[in-house]
Structures are given as C-alpha cells and as structure tokens.
C-alpha cells in the first residue's frame, strides 16, 4: 500500500524540530531512519498529521566515547555502530546485537534511537539498553530530561515519550572489568525478527559472579529483565563446572516467568522453551568471555 497524506517538515535545527513537534502535539511523529515508521505508514497502521524528518539536523550522527560512557545521537545508524572501532573494541554487547539487526540495507538507514523509540519486543536495541542500564536522552521545546531504560519502556510499541518530545540520544555506561557479554537470538531466517533471544552480562571475580544482567528478547511487551535470575547468579560460584546446574535453574526460571505469545510462526510453548534455551546459551557464552571456563 501507499502512505496516507501528511504534512512533511524537514527542519534544519533541533530548536525548529522541537517547535514543530510542540505545535503538532499528539499528531506529530519523528521520522529518522524510517525502517519501522515507513512500513507502518505504508500499511496505514500509523497516520500522523505531521511528519518531522530529522535527517537534516546537524551533529545528531555522532558516536562519542568518554571515560567509560558512550553517547550516540538520534541519527546514528546501525551500520555506523558496526563501522565504529570504539564500539567494536569496547562495547561488545552493543556490537554483537547490532550485527543481528535485520539486513544490510535496513542497517544502512535504520537508527538505534529509532529502534529504542519504537520499542518492539523482538528488536535488539531496547534489550541492549536495558541490559547495560542505559539512559534515554529526551528533548522537547520545554527542555531536556533523561529516563533510565526500564522507565522508558512502558509496553508493546509504547514508551514514556510524551507528545512534543523526541529522543535525541542514548547513553550507555561500560560494565566493570572482568565482564563477559553475549547477545543471542533465534529467527527462522537470518535477519528476521527474533522469535526469542537473550542478552547477558556476567561480571566475575575468582570464579564468583559479582554482578549479573539478563534480558529476554521477543517476549511480553518489551525488553524483559529477569531480576530473579540476576539475584540467583549474584554471589554464586560459576567456575570449575559449577555453572551448568545454576544456568539450568536460570533457564527454568526464565521459562516459568516469561509471557510467551503465540503467533503465525510458533506456538506459545515453543517460544517459552526457546526463551530458556536462549537464556542459557547467552549466560554460557558470557561466562566464557569473562574468562571463566563454563
């Protein structure tokens, strides 16, 4: 199908963009990479009166790293992350997840902030942001505010963003030293939306887990952190083969707690099973990458 009518605006400054968004209120939508919004327009799932194209805003395409903090602007594309030496070398979870975002042509245009703003439960970036305890940087004509990832995500394709606001950037804090990470997902076809996936971070010291993060992808209404598993792992010895039973218990907790929907691809039971498998696989890989033999 073809997109419905809209008033198209392509401001050249952030102040202009925020002014247009304020005036448009609930009828305004930000167009960045367009890899989620354009399909929604073409299928007429979305029908905004005003489309604010931010592609001509200056300085929004920056990736800035400073002392363990990474800040990326609203026009940073998935491909930009993959081409960034800093991301490849020092932000392995973000890098690994981005390699699994859709296909090359989509990665060339789609933005990381756009994926986080869209908040599809199957998408990679909302889960990475949750796992790294990241922050969403928001601006409106009235000023700026920040929200932690867990407060930003409010449900299926729903965020805490108010009318008139836009996401201008994301901020990630680097995990402590001796942290291993992994992002795994399963899809029927390479690059398709994940049926299930998991993101894990394990910080290890002398074979003991100091800090754990686990997020399940493709379940419920958005990125699903699993605090029960994080609590279970923290303080546990995982070295010398001890991880096997603990990770199996973690997988059982995941399977029992996730809200696994049925769809045209898979049954609820299959998705639930896969969530457990993905969680275990992510934890095992993260452990090895933290320098501990599983």
């Amino acid at each position: 199908m073809k997109a419905p009518w809209f008033d198209y605006q392509a401001p050249r400054s952030l102040a202009d963009a925020l002014g247009i968004l304020r005036d448009a209120g609930e009828e305004g939508r930000v167009l960045a990479g367009g890899q989620s919004l354009m399909p929604m327009l073409n299928m007429r799932v979305a029908d905004p009166e005003v489309l604010v194209d931010i592609n001509r805003l200056p300085d929004m395409d920056r990736i800035e790293e400073d002392d363990g903090t990474l800040r990326i602007g609203a026009l940073v594309r998935h491909a930009d992350l993959l081409n960034s030496a800093a991301v490849r070398e020092r932000w392995p979870l973000l890098y690994e997840a981005t390699t699994q975002v859709a296909h090359p042509a989509i990665r060339n245009r789609g933005t990381v902030c756009g994926s986080v703003s869209h908040n599809d439960p199957s998408a990679e970036h909302p889960s990475v942001l949750a796992t790294l305890d990241g922050t969403v940087l928001i601006a409106s004509a009235d000023g700026q505010r920040e929200l932690p990832a867990e407060e930003f995500s409010e449900g299926m394709l729903t965020t805490a963003l108010e009318p008139g606001e836009m996401v201008v950037g994301l901020r990630y804090e680097r995990p402590p030293a001796r942290t291993g990470s992994a992002f795994v997902e399963f899809a029927r076809r390479l690059g398709d939306f994940a049926i299930a996936g998991a993101a894990a971070l394990l910080t290890m010291k002398d074979g003991v887990c100091e800090r754990a993060r686990l997020t399940i992808v493709g379940m419920g209404d958005g990125p699903v952190r699993v605090p029960e598993v994080e609590d279970l792992l923290t303080g546990k010895t995982l070295g010398n083969g001890a991880a096997c039973d603990v990770f199996e218990e973690a997988a059982q907790i995941v399977k029992a707690s996730v809200d696994a929907a049925e769809d045209v691809h898979v049954s609820s039971g299959y998705r639930r099973h896969l969530a457990g498998v993905m969680a275990k696989r992510a934890l095992e890989t993260a452990l090895v990458r933290a320098g501990v033999a599983a």
């Binding site: 199908m1 073809k2 997109a3 419905p4 009518w5 809209f6 008033d7 198209y8 605006q9 392509a10 367009g34 890899q35 354009m38 399909p39 327009l41 073409n42 299928m43 489309l51 194209d53 592609n55 491909a79 859709a102 296909h103 090359p104 042509a105 989509i106 060339n108 245009r109 076809r189 390479l190 690059g191």
Partner: protein, 163 residues
C-alpha cells in the same frame, strides 16, 4: 501545508529537478516520474528487498524512503549499471552466465546488494554472500545460482584488478 516539494537529485549520473508529492516513496518516484521501471516494488514494507537501490553509495529500500528525502542524493538503479558503451557490468554478466535470473523480479535488488557487498569485501565467503543477500527474497531460484553468480563476479573482478 506543503503537499508537494521540489527536489533535485542525480539518478544514474543524470541530474533531475522534479516536483513530488511528499508522501511518494522513492521507489514510486523512480518508476512513475522518471519511468525507470527496472526498480521493482514488492512488499512495500521493507521485507522483500526487490526495491533496493544505491543511495549515496549505500543500499537502501526505495519503498522505505520518501522521494523528498532523496533531495540532493546520488542514486544508482539497475538502469545505471551498464558502462558508457552499453556493456553489462561484471555482476550483471555473472548473473546471466550463472542462470541466476528466472522471473527477474528480485534481480534489481539482488544486483544492488551484491554490488555493495563486493565493494566492501572483494573476496567474500559463501556464508558472507548469503548473509549480505539475506534481505533479498527470491521465490524462483533457491538462491544457489545467485550465490554462485556473486562468487563468479568476485573472481572476475579480482582478476580484472590484477590485470
């Protein structure tokens, strides 16, 4: 409200200035206003890859980009792949010689993605080829001939560079 806008862009080396409706996709603009019907629109929501063209040297879905967004860009479609003498490009020849075309609907997008791959990686493995073409669906070929064509084009291009 601005329902229409003037845009200036380059397509296959030729400059155009056109008035476009703001809701028109780049793909529809190329086909309906420039009459470059080699770009095929399949699903119109970014899944099939048939409409893939090169925008400023990078592959993009022309169904997921508005024509107004292409203002100031340099675009290459399948019509722009021949050289000045009308000779097919290395990739087109390889597709022809390896029977990588059946109905031809996916071919323009396949060529665009495959050419981008060889620009980034002149000697890709079979897995790398399959990964790079994963966003282009073909319902005829079973992909094998397409992968072989890209391998043949890569070999031909490397040989050309050496000469």
């Amino acid at each position: 409200m601005a329902w229409e806008q003037e845009i200036e862009l380059k397509v296959n080396g030729r400059a155009y200035a056109k008035r476009v409706s703001v809701r028109t996709s780049l793909g529809d603009f190329l086909r309906d206003q420039l009459h470059l019907t080699g770009t095929h629109l399949g699903c119109e929501h970014g899944v099939c890859g048939a409409c893939t063209v090169s925008v400023d040297g990078k592959s993009a879905r022309s169904c997921l980009m508005l024509a107004v967004q292409a203002d100031g860009t340099d675009i290459v479609t399948i019509e722009g792949l021949r050289d000045e003498d009308g000779e097919w490009s290395v990739m087109q020849k390889a597709f022809f010689e390896n029977f990588a075309v059946q109905c031809g609907f996916c071919t323009p997008g396949m060529l665009s993605s495959a050419i981008e791959l060889l620009k980034e990686n002149p000697d890709p493995s079979e897995d790398e080829i399959r990964e790079h073409l994963s966003g282009n669906i073909c319902r005829c070929s079973g992909y094998q001939a397409i992968v072989e064509a890209v391998q043949a084009a890569a070999a031909a291009q490397r040989a050309e560079v050496q000469v």
